[in-house]
């Protein structure tokens, strides 16, 4: 089976790499699959743009780069502009609807938006935006199990923030489920 290729793009400080880390960890440590994470280094690692590439597979991963993502998460307009053209036919785009205005996309692409920033602010901590996104991603794609995602969150975030982060995950997860329901209805 070919790897599932995932790319998450956004701005520094949004926790993009951490989101990739949790997904990779969930798949490789808790779902007993294989996963790799590569972060975009270079000037962008310190500047505005930031991205994570995650591969998930049932078999060992040989080529660790995302060539053409099936699953793309964009949390900034720049990330959308840069990465949306890479999306594979039939791919899935998830985006922060407050930060990203969708441009033209091929009709085969399914899109799911959520107000990630606003939801994070409503939880009182902007820093949990990435956990909301992880919840949303988990619900939409089913690439990692909900239990694995929770376990990965527990062993990644600082102990004192586990409850808050799990709550953020729930919020995102619920959003994802409801978007899926919207699409099927």
């Amino acid at each position: 089976m070919a790897s599932s290729e995932i790319k998450i793009g956004g701005l520094g400080g949004q926790g993009v790499i951490m989101a990739g880390m949790i997904l990779g960890k969930a798949a490789s440590l808790h779902d007993e699959k294989f996963a790799t994470l590569i972060q975009a280094f270079g000037p962008e690692a310190r500047g505005a743009a930031c991205s994570a590439q995650v591969l998930i597979d049932d078999d060992p991963i040989l080529y660790p780069y995302v060539v053409s993502p099936q699953f793309l998460v964009t949390l900034s307009q720049d990330a959308f502009r840069q990465f949306a053209p890479e999306l594979r036919e039939g791919g899935v785009l998830m985006f922060d609807e407050d930060m990203v205005t969708l441009g033209k996309l091929p009709p085969s692409i399914r899109t799911y938006g959520l107000p990630a920033m606003r939801l994070a602010e409503s939880l009182g901590r902007k820093q949990v935006l990435n956990l909301i996104v992880v919840g949303f991603f988990t619900a939409i794609t089913g690439l990692v199990s909900e239990a694995a995602a929770r376990a990965a969150i527990r062993d990644t975030v600082p102990p004192s923030t586990i409850a808050l982060n799990l709550h953020a995950f729930e919020v995102g997860f619920a959003q994802g489920k409801s978007r899926l329901a919207d699409k099927t209805n």
Partner: protein
């Protein structure tokens, strides 16, 4: 001996190769590093700086790589196991001290996380352009052991192996990583202490006055001691006799330099490690190392799906080179394909060893990213066609 389980994060982690190296060093009993920041290797020393205070280790950030690379040697003679970590430009600066470590037979591990070069090159992007530097970079004539991990797991495993080899042969050992294995995050399993074997330093049991620091045993390796044990040793980078005193003449030079080379070459069978896949009955072999070996496996899958009998030989040890194995392989296959992230380095050694027994095809790459599997696949396909072992039409002909 078994590692100190208190320092071991036994279990399954999702970490990158740089962090895995740091854990491997701790598992191997390394308790000292002197570092100077350089991308893409900095994470190794950052993790050691964070972890060492919990395991009794010492990290000192030095003023430059010249300092860092000899501070670790001082620490070894003080009695610690030590590691030195760098990349490209820093590796160039450290060359003199690699030679000093070889000449003084100092057991130590040096890591080079290879990035694009020459010069400042591509600080954040991969290459494998330092492979010949590892072999020949220091002045004079000496031999090094160099290992090439191709995954974060192997960064952990081979860091321990590097320490073990350094102690076993009282010599510096190089871990030649690349930016991809260094920065790629993946599952790394850290075994329990019972499942790891650590080679302790082979300290002499001779009394002061009887011990000679450079008197080899039958395996050509002299025993160790450290400062403060009463042996009143003398260590020098000058050509020296078995007591370590400078003797500057051709006979002493010949005896010393040949033993240092023989120590590695005559013990090569104990050092060399390769991983072989699908080589039984193969028409074509791919010889690769580091991240490129992984990429090559994808190309091999593609070729085998076409019916091409192609296998792989992965260099876990680049130096000493698996000469005999390659010679045998060359008489069994019609071509050897050598992809690497440089303009053709290890392929020179493959060609030298193969000596015309089969075709050798270089798949070079200037670095900055890895090969696309199809680039390696194309070389395999053309080798197969050339050799008349192509059983299906070329993709371009379909």
């Amino acid at each position: 001996m078994k590692p100190d389980s208190r320092g071991l994060l036994s279990g399954r982690l999702f970490i990158d190769g740089d962090h895995a190296c740091a854990e491997g060093a701790i598992a191997a009993g390394c308790r000292f590093t002197a570092g100077y920041p350089i991308t893409p290797s900095t994470e190794v020393v950052e993790r050691l700086a964070q972890r060492f205070p919990f395991v009794g280790g010492t990290f000192i950030q030095m003023e430059d790589e010249l300092a860092a690379s000899i501070t670790v040697l001082g620490a070894v003679w003080g009695g610690a196991k030590a590691i030195c970590v760098t990349s490209g430009p820093g590796f160039s600066l450290m060359m003199e001290h690699l030679g000093y470590a070889a000449m003084t037979e100092t057991p130590v591990v040096f890591i080079d996380v290879q990035r694009g070069g020459p010069s400042t090159g591509l600080p954040t992007l991969p290459a494998q352009g330092d492979m010949m530097q590892a072999r020949w970079g220091t002045h004079g004539d000496c031999r090094f052991i160099a290992l090439c991990p191709s995954s974060p797991q192997e960064c952990f495993d081979l860091t321990i192996e590097a320490f073990n080899l350094s102690e076993r042969f009282r010599t510096p050992v190089l871990l030649m990583m690349d930016e991809v294995v260094g920065h790629m995050t993946e599952r790394v399993v850290i075994p329990s202490a019972d499942d790891l074997d650590i080679v302790p330093r082979r300290y002499t049991d001779k009394a002061p006055g009887e011990f000679k620091l450079f008197e080899p045993r039958d395996d050509l390796v002299p025993d160790m001691c450290r400062a403060g044990q009463g042996h009143r040793i003398h260590l020098t980078g000058l050509t020296h006799d078995e007591r370590g005193y400078p003797v500057l003449n051709a006979d002493t030079q010949d005896r010393l330099v040949r033993r240092l080379a023989d120590k590695i070459e005559r013990n090569a069978a104990q050092i060399v490690r390769v991983e072989e896949r699908n080589l039984d009955g193969a028409d074509i072999a791919v010889v690769a190392y580091g991240i490129t070996a992984r990429i090559a496996e994808r190309a091999i899958e593609m070729a085998r799906a076409q019916g091409i009998q192609v296998g792989s030989l992965r260099l876990i040890t680049a130096w000493p080179f698996p000469t005999e194995r390659l010679q045998r392989l060359a008489s069994e296959v019609s071509a050897i394909v050598v992809p690497e992230l440089n303009l053709g380095q290890m392929v020179l050694e493959v060609e030298r060893v193969v000596a015309g027994r089969c075709r050798v095809i270089s798949v070079d790459h200037a670095g900055g990213t890895v090969h696309l599997p199809k680039q390696i696949h194309a070389a395999i396909e053309s080798a197969a066609r050339e050799a008349g072992v192509m059983r299906l039409p070329l993709a371009s002909e379909r």
